[in-house]
Amino acid sequence: MGRTVLVTGVARPLVGRLVRRLLREPDVDRVVGVDSRAPEHRLGGAEFVPADIRHPVLARILVEHGIDTVMHMDVTGTPLARGGRAAVKENNVIGSMQLLGACQQAPRVRRLVVKSTTSVYGSAPRDPAVFTESTPPKALPSGGFAKDAVEVEGYVRGFARRRPDVAVCVLRFANILGPRVDTPLAEYLALPALPTVLGYDPRLQFVHEDDVLDVLLLAAGEPRRGTINSGTFNIAGEGVLLLSQAARRLGRPTVPVPLPAVTWVGSALRSAGMTDFSPEQIRLLTHGRVVETTQMRELLGFTPEYSTVETFADFAAGRAAGLLPPREVRRAVDAVGELLGLPGARTPVQADGVAKESVHDG
């Protein structure tokens, strides 16, 4: 008999794709999607149950459908429709508690997969350059999605202690990007000019949306030979991209803003409805964050198809070119080369000077 999977948060497009992928898995019999809001996208042959995960009705759903695998995808940073930050927090934290409580009462549950985030590590100047799964954060996230994720992970650890028979897998995703997702960071990168923190150039790491689905499927199934798919894993594409690099590759000019003023710009942008510029995102864009992915490769046995750079290229390809498209910039430099290269007068020295200027702004 195949598996019966419950997926929370199916109203989100990425989770909808996960459901459709799950249905194609040979050993999956049924998929039950739960969300408080009806999804706008189709869920294939999956059964949709309109339910709020904060409600105890969840326990009944688990037993009625004979669920053996629970994929908790409903820990998110952005509200889907109405409701502000308070509603999101309520859903993230109380919803997770309810879900875990329901799982504890459901004897048939064998596997739990939780989508978390690398922002549980926070982001501070006193942090080591690279976080491993066991690095304690120097400064715990003070609020927002990151704090929710820290709390949810705490409940999940408690659940794992109480139900040692359930394989628990927590996947901490780096910033998810891709042609189709709309994460807060993707919204930020879509701004015509990118406000950055003056004097800081954070290191960023991305994971591609396709890799997210792949690794979630891997975690939902039985572990392959020689791998373990329970535990906590950082999921990120290989390599690092600086914010300045990312902006240039996108062709978007940056607007450096001194640190104290960043919060004002952030709230102005938020009230203009352009992007959700949370304090936690400002911290990320100040100090950056890089995680170690050895455990993902060696224990989980997962190698992302896209590196950080490739993920970003794929994301950039799906977006309109910015004000300074790299192709145009390259052509302009070539034109300068041709112009000066033929008479050959002042190329070396001038190019030197310009090169230095460009470095100063980066």
Binding site: R126, Q245, P348
Partner: protein, 403 residues
């Protein structure tokens, strides 16, 4: 410049304005430009009908008078400035064309011809290639098409811009003599342990240039810096791009595991912020954490002694209240700072020596040795003594603070 060379201090002024040279190719930086600084200076002079170019040419000539291979390169640099002036002249000649168009064109053509003759002589045969290199560098930077490692280290920027920026300070201002750089292995991880002094961490930067420019295998010194560095705007991103990272066991172990040369100053703020009266007295070496990190990685420890950095800012007082207000570990008071403002922050031009000592192997110990406190204390003391004795030896050898 691996040999100890004393350049009279007065000569620095004439060459101070020389532009930092770009490193060309993978080889040693100073040879390709050479081909005789005198020729370069002469070319710049002949190419130019006076103006700023001739001044630059003269300074190039001054450089050439010094003799020695190094000054040849210097002349080349100044000569290049001359070429820039010539190019400007050509351009302005072209712009004023309308009134006496023909005459101006003739002048421009003559200038251009002169330049076309001069450039290959100035920059060597491959000047077009250099121009192309510079443009492709510019293109890569402007389109973001370069790579950084997980620590944010930007090798290209460091090689092409950051080290060349500090190279004149290294070669002309502090006139650093480097000894024993071959004690750093050509491959694999190594932990370079330095003394720390001088109020502002010039010593770390100079050690980085020393390893970069003088090590035969072109290694990069990856320094471990205090968390203060990563809190300050601008400083933090330049530090990361220059290959520095936070001084913590995690980062050090990770760098050593990648086979990098890691530089650490175990004295920390105690060393760099000590009063002038305590110069060349090594402070406590932390808790010896660096030794256990090296032991776990099996990386050799290379003691490094830096003489000269202690006198760049003679710290005669520490304004603790100001320091506390600014959130700094100390606030230096020197005979010139803060009295002269920014001018007082110019370091004194002392003569430096950086000596890398015999490496202390750590791969002979069993893995559990890293948790043995007695062994850690012994090794820490050994490293500390080595550095202290080398410091005394170098101080005895030193003729004066400034020469």
């Amino acid at each position: 410049m691996a040999d100890a060379k004393v350049i009279p201090f007065d000569d620095d002024r004439s060459r101070g304005g020389g532009k930092p040279r770009r490193r060309s190719g993978a080889g040693r930086p100073r040879r390709p430009d050479g081909g005789g600084g005198a020729a370069g200076a002469e070319a710049a002079l002949s190419a130019l009908p006076g103006g700023q170019g001739s001044a630059a040419g003269e300074s190039g000539g001054d450089g050439a008078d010094d003799g020695a291979g190094e000054s040849g390169a210097d002349g080349g640099g100044a000569g290049r400035t001359g070429a820039a002036g010539a190019a400007d002249g050509a351009a302005s000649g072209g712009r004023t064309a309308p009134p006496g168009a023909e005459a101006a064109e003739a002048v421009a053509a003559a200038l251009q011809n002169a330049l076309m003759d001069a450039l290959p002589r100035l920059l060597g045969g491959g000047w077009e290639r250099k121009a192309t290199d510079a443009l492709s560098f510019l293109r890569r930077r402007l389109t973001g098409d370069y790579e950084v490692d997980e620590f944010g280290f930007d090798a290209e920027l460091t090689d092409q811009v950051l080290v060349p920026l500090f190279r004149p300070v290294f070669e002309k201002y502090f006139r650093v003599t480097v000894k024993g750089v071959e004690n750093i292995p050509d491959t694999g991880g190594a932990l370079v342990v330095c003394n720390h002094s001088g109020v502002v961490p010039w010593d770390g930067l100079m050690a980085q240039v020393a390893v970069h420019d003088h090590h035969p295998a072109d290694r990069h010194l990856r320094l471990l810096a205090a968390d203060l560095v990563f809190m300050l705007p601008f400083v933090n991103q330049l530090a990361r791009k220059g290959g520095h990272t936070l001084a913590c066991a995690d980062d050090a172990a990770r760098l050593l595991a990648r086979g990098e040369v890691v530089g650490v100053m175990p004295e920390g703020f105690k060393g760099i912020g000590k009063p002038f009266a305590d110069r060349y007295k090594l402070q406590r070496f932390g808790r010896g954490g660096f030794v256990s990190t090296a032991l776990r990685a099996g990386a050799p420890i290379v003691p490094c002694s830096i003489v000269g950095a202690e006198e760049i800012y003679p710290m005669i007082g520490n304004a603790k209240t100001v320091a506390r207000l600014l959130g700094l570990p100390y606030f230096p008071v020197t005979p010139t700072f803060p009295w002269l403002g920014a001018l007082g922050a110019v370091p004194l031009p002392t003569k430096w020596t950086i000596e890398f000592g015999e490496p202390i192997p750590t791969d002979g110990y069993p893995p559990e040795a890293a948790d043995d406190p007695m062994l850690m204390f012994n090794l820490t003391d050994q490293v500390r003594e080595t550095i202290q004795h080398t410091l005394y030896k170098l101080l005895v050898e030193r003729r004066s603070v400034f020469f």
